[in-house]
Symmetry: C2
Subunit: 412 residues, 2 copies
């Protein structure tokens, strides 16, 4: 009998919550009725959790002012989730959502200060993390906080370096842990942290900071062929990224939460979305490192909301008028089949990765979608589950056993 | 009998409204009780109006979303002003206040777009101006809208040029006029528009766009000697700027609203504030171009509000706990003496200004505080009211009569 990854005895399924009305702008006019109706939709699929995204500058409009009403709105949303037996992960610093950055006036223009390095800003962030975490932890259905949704996206306004970002994240995770020791404290980045050689947020930190690793799988980064049925590179991308993250952690038992995954147009044509989603889930679900799957996103966005990228409007499991999409039905079916205790998946072969993402982050492009390594992994993956193993651990039997790896395949 | 400037038969006195609690962040938790208590303070001084400052991105968090509740909060504030017989001027685009820029996510980072040139942003601004003006115009005590408080401050994030800024302002003023023909439509800039040669907002526009000219007199720009009793350059600065604005308009009868003036530390020591304010008022009040005087600002800001410049915390007429300051009492006394029908001030001498601010804006530094021209004007001003006349109009008798200028003094 092999060791199951801690906390992964049952797969978790959830949705990233985008309100059906008013997008995230709706926080300024929080509506319990809308949230209740939306969560009823989600619970009906058999989901067990939601990730929620408060908007940082609306809760902390001044560095010294953390609005009680802003926190109360968040708590009310959490309590409504509890009505539907939905657990909640709170993302703290938005920060960034679907191309929109929300930054308070106290880090802008005349107060232009680095979110990552300025000590006054960091003291403000620590206070924010502390207060939001303390409040969230009072609710039993909250199980995790994430520093923010893809905080690396804040970089365009704020050049920084990898040492800085790691220190920044560790400091805020420590603040979260102190304020809310019961909650998982997590760090989330977009996939460039795994794929872009120059990205100042490194795999070492994504795979080391926080209580488990989170990944966000963007199929539009995964060798898409827009308009055609998604190929194996697309449907296996979530599994690939989970595997890369598992291989990228020093701890062979560290779980990986597939925190954002979806089926966006045009890379996934609407008619293919349900089948493609099911193939994606079926490929990633046996991965022994997988903690859970959270869908981006819960609800479509009304087209009256301006300036989102076209693909962002209809990424929901539900339409804005609460119709369940075929892919949502497919997700519900998968949840029905997969939510019981996990059966042992058996050992898998693993492809050796010659790139050490920790010591050589500048080589990340060599594992990105479309690289020779990725291409070979996708080819072999079609025969069944396939791990990734770092070259320096390819002979480490204990490591291989912990990761449920049998055969080790050198690259051809 | 000479022609009085239209609309200046009685001087108007008001305050720029900074709430006693929560600074402008308080818009996110609008409190009618706070506003009522604050306006009671102001009405007690004999003031007849307030300028109010809604925060743009909180009313328009998405380009296509203008929040009804945001507008309703503004209307409630206006109605509370009416309870105290206070008229209201609404500043539209904040935009900028006391060093804080408030910018929505749809013009930031990933959506980085020029507030001044991007057509989508401008369409959003036109919609915002339209809706806020239409709403404001439903209230009889609203008499004016200003595009925003010192919109030129938005420039650090957004390089632009003078032709652009003029077109931008004209377009939005046209939108305001269409939406609210009854209201004065105004444009306000900080004094660099008059003094800084390279500033991309020009005197021609400040003195030509909108229904009257507004000026903001910052005594910290006016040859201050911090810690010492304010000298004549400081106490006459408001009058100088009103005069420069009057001389800088093609229309000799165009009124000038001294829309922001104050007595900030350390340029004006606290013990000198009341006397200094009175000298300032006594010098500017006889100016025939003067439409009114609005004090920056109504109430002090709680020190718990972080990151304001030190001098910004205690610029109120009232403390945060509603104590009337000596300078407020002095202002009330001045209002009592000055609020009746204005008596003819008689003709004044004028100093010829060789710098044509319209055709040669790059020469603006030659009229800035501390320049030879300003120094001579201050010296002569000590003998009594003194106009400024552009050289090319120094022989234009009709113009001189309209501006109530008798003798024309060439510079020594």
């Amino acid at each position: 009998m092999t060791t199951q990854h801690p906390g992964t005895d049952r797969l978790r399924f959830g949705a990233d919550y985008v309100p059906s009305s008013g997008w995230l702008s709706s926080w300024l006019d929080f509506s319990a009725d809308t949230a209740r109706r939306d969560f009823e939709d989600l619970a009906g699929l058999g989901l067990d959790h939601v990730r929620v995204f408060p908007i940082w500058p609306w809760i902390q409009p001044n560095r010294s002012l953390i609005r009680r009403q802003g926190i109360d709105d968040l708590l009310e949303l959490i309590d409504i989730a509890a009505e539907f037996d939905l657990d909640v992960a709170v993302d703290l610093l938005q920060g960034h959502l679907s191309s929109f950055d929300f930054l308070p006036s106290w880090v802008l223009t005349w107060h232009q200060r680095s979110v990552f390095t300025d000590e006054l800003v960091r003291s403000g962030l620590r206070a924010y993390v502390d207060q939001v975490c303390r409040a969230a932890a009072t609710r039993e259905n909250v199980f995790a906080v994430t520093l923010g949704n893809e905080v690396d996206h804040l970089r365009p306004a704020d050049p920084t370096g990898a040492a800085t970002t790691a220190t920044w994240a560790a400091e805020l995770l420590a603040a979260a842990r102190t304020a809310a020791p019961r909650l998982l404290g997590l760090y989330s980045l977009h996939d460039a942290a795994w794929y872009a050689g120059g990205h100042p947020f490194h795999p070492t930190d994504a795979g080391g900071l926080g209580d488990l690793t989170t990944v966000h799988s963007r199929v539009f980064d995964a060798v898409p062929a827009p308009g055609r049925p998604p190929g194996p590179a697309t449907t296996s991308h979530a599994d690939y990224l989970v595997e890369l993250a598992a291989a990228g952690s020093a701890d062979p038992l560290r779980p990986v939460w597939l925190q954002e995954v979806g089926a966006p147009r045009p890379e996934v044509p609407a008619a293919e979305a349900a089948a493609s989603a099911r193939r994606m889930i079926d490929q990633v679900a046996p991965n022994p490192a997988l903690w859970g799957v959270t869908w981006w996103c819960s609800h479509d966005t009304d087209r009256r909301q301006a300036d989102l990228a076209d693909r962002e409007y209809d990424r929901g499991l539900f339409t804005v008028d609460h119709r369940r999409k075929p892919l949502a039905a497919q997700l519900a079916a998968a949840i029905g089949e997969l939510r019981g205790p996990r059966t042992s998946a058996g050992d898998r072969p693993a492809l050796v990765c010659d790139v050490d993402l920790h010591s050589r982050p500048e080589r990340r492009a060599e594992v990105a979608p479309g690289s020779a390594f990725h291409t070979e992994w996708v080819r072999l993956r079609q025969a069944g589950p396939l791990a990734v193993v770092p070259a320096h651990r390819a002979d480490d039997d204990a490591y291989l056993a912990a990761r449920r790896i049998g055969t080790v395949l050198a690259r051809t």
